[in-house]
């Protein structure tokens, strides 16, 4: 085998670089779910918490197509049999009225930047 030392040195560098994120995080604090501000004026969301936590993004995506393109404005909840208006600003933000203390908390922690608010208006004020 030619250049054995160079190949193994290269492999070692490769393994170290590839596993850097793992051993770099050893010892650092585990992911802590941010403490969110709970709505004061209502008890339950349109669906249960687990579903909302995992599916709210695709739900909002479906809502927007159904409202804008098909004109279907009512959402029939699967958990509470209640009917809600499919609207980010008129339904979600009526309870979760503080975007900074609700939406942004998780989004910032997991470093995602949804572009909802490029157009939709945060009722607590528009950043100019």
């Amino acid at each position: 085998m030619y250049d054995k030392s160079k190949i193994f040195a290269g492999l070692a560098v490769f393994v170290v670089v590839m596993t850097y994120p793992f051993w770099n995080n050893i010892g650092s604090a585990a992911y802590v779910r941010p403490e969110l501000e709970k709505p004061k004026n209502s008890q339950a969301c349109v669906e249960n918490v687990e579903l909302m936590r995992t599916e709210h993004m695709s739900m909002l995506n479906e809502w927007r197509d159904e409202v804008v393109r098909d004109g279907v404005h009512e959402y029939h909840s699967k958990t509470s049999n209640q009917v809600f208006q499919k609207s980010l600003t008129k339904t979600c933000m009526k309870c979760h009225e503080n975007k900074d203390k609700f939406c942004d908390k998780c989004h910032n922690t997991v470093a995602v930047d949804p572009y909802c608010w490029d157009c939709h208006v945060d009722p607590k004020g528009v950043q100019k």
Binding site: V68, R69, D70, H73, E74, V121
Partner: protein
């Protein structure tokens, strides 16, 4: 042997060509739910309106030019632009949903220079919500589409800002956001979204208000100068006005079948 292979190849080529053309020919003949739809005519989106929504077979608007004056036109424009978060930008990058303009700019074919003194000099222009909308046909992403009740809607989420629709619209009803509009909005209405840079916008016949059972904002503040209703219903106010009074539309010879009528 040679001639036989030659003939076989010829037949195969013609057959392949035929198969290639077939789907396209079908598309041209009928692509949508109705035989009249297809590539040459826009397909239409069904509207499932809620219990409180105002419904119609074909929404249309009638503008009485005699009842318009400086004050009510300015008020209509102000109300429309404020509830829809339309930014106030002056110059060539202006954004407008409804605006006051000269009659001879509105009606290029129908007016001559010997109009009566008392006739209206200006009127309101807005999206005509055409029955055969060129903007819908040219949109590559179907961001603009036509509903079954005739409203030509914008899906701002889907607009990629190619501005084909602006080239297609013969009425100049569409505006493009050359920059972030938010700094130019005086007071933002939280219920309605703003737009973002690189998106085209226009009047939507207040589709969001119709869904809540409200008439379009311009109709509400116009004091009877702007009438809105169902063109498919012979008893509707718009049909009665059109039957009683002489009305014209903007550039009907273009074949777009505009649905905003002007009483002159």
């Amino acid at each position: 042997m040679k001639t036989i292979r030659r003939n076989f190849l010829k037949v195969a080529a013609v057959a392949a060509l035929g198969w290639g053309i077939r789907p396209a020919a079908q598309l041209f003949a009928s692509g949508g739910a109705e035989p009249s739809e297809g590539l040459l005519l826009a397909s239409r989106h069904a509207v499932h309106s809620g219990p409180n929504a105002l419904k119609a077979g074909r929404w249309a608007m009638v503008i009485d030019t005699a009842k318009l004056n400086e004050q009510n036109m300015a008020e209509i424009v102000r109300v429309c632009h404020s509830i829809h978060n339309v930014p106030a930008i002056s110059g060539p990058q202006e954004i407008k949903w409804i605006w006051e303009t000269k009659m001879d700019h509105l009606f290029l074919d129908d007016l001559h220079e010997f109009q009566p003194e008392a006739a209206a000099k200006t009127a309101l222009a807005l999206c005509n919500h055409c029955d055969n909308p060129p903007c819908v046909r040219v949109c590559p992403t179907k961001a603009t589409f036509q509903r079954e009740d005739g409203i030509v809607m914008m899906d701002f989420h889907r607009c990629i800002g190619c501005r084909y629709c602006m080239a297609g619209c013969p009425y100049g009803s569409r505006s493009f956001n050359f920059m972030d509009p938010r700094p130019y909005i005086e007071s933002t209405t939280p219920e309605f979204p703003t737009r973002t840079k690189g998106v085209v916008e226009k009047c939507e016949f207040c589709a969001e208000r119709l869904a809540e059972g409200k008439m379009p904002a311009c109709v509400e503040v116009s004091d009877g100068a702007v009438v809105f209703g169902d063109l498919a219903d012979p008893e509707s106010e718009v049909r009665k006005l059109l039957a009683e009074r002489f009305s014209i539309r903007r550039s009907p010879t273009l074949g777009t079948k505009p649905c905003v009528y002007y009483l002159v």
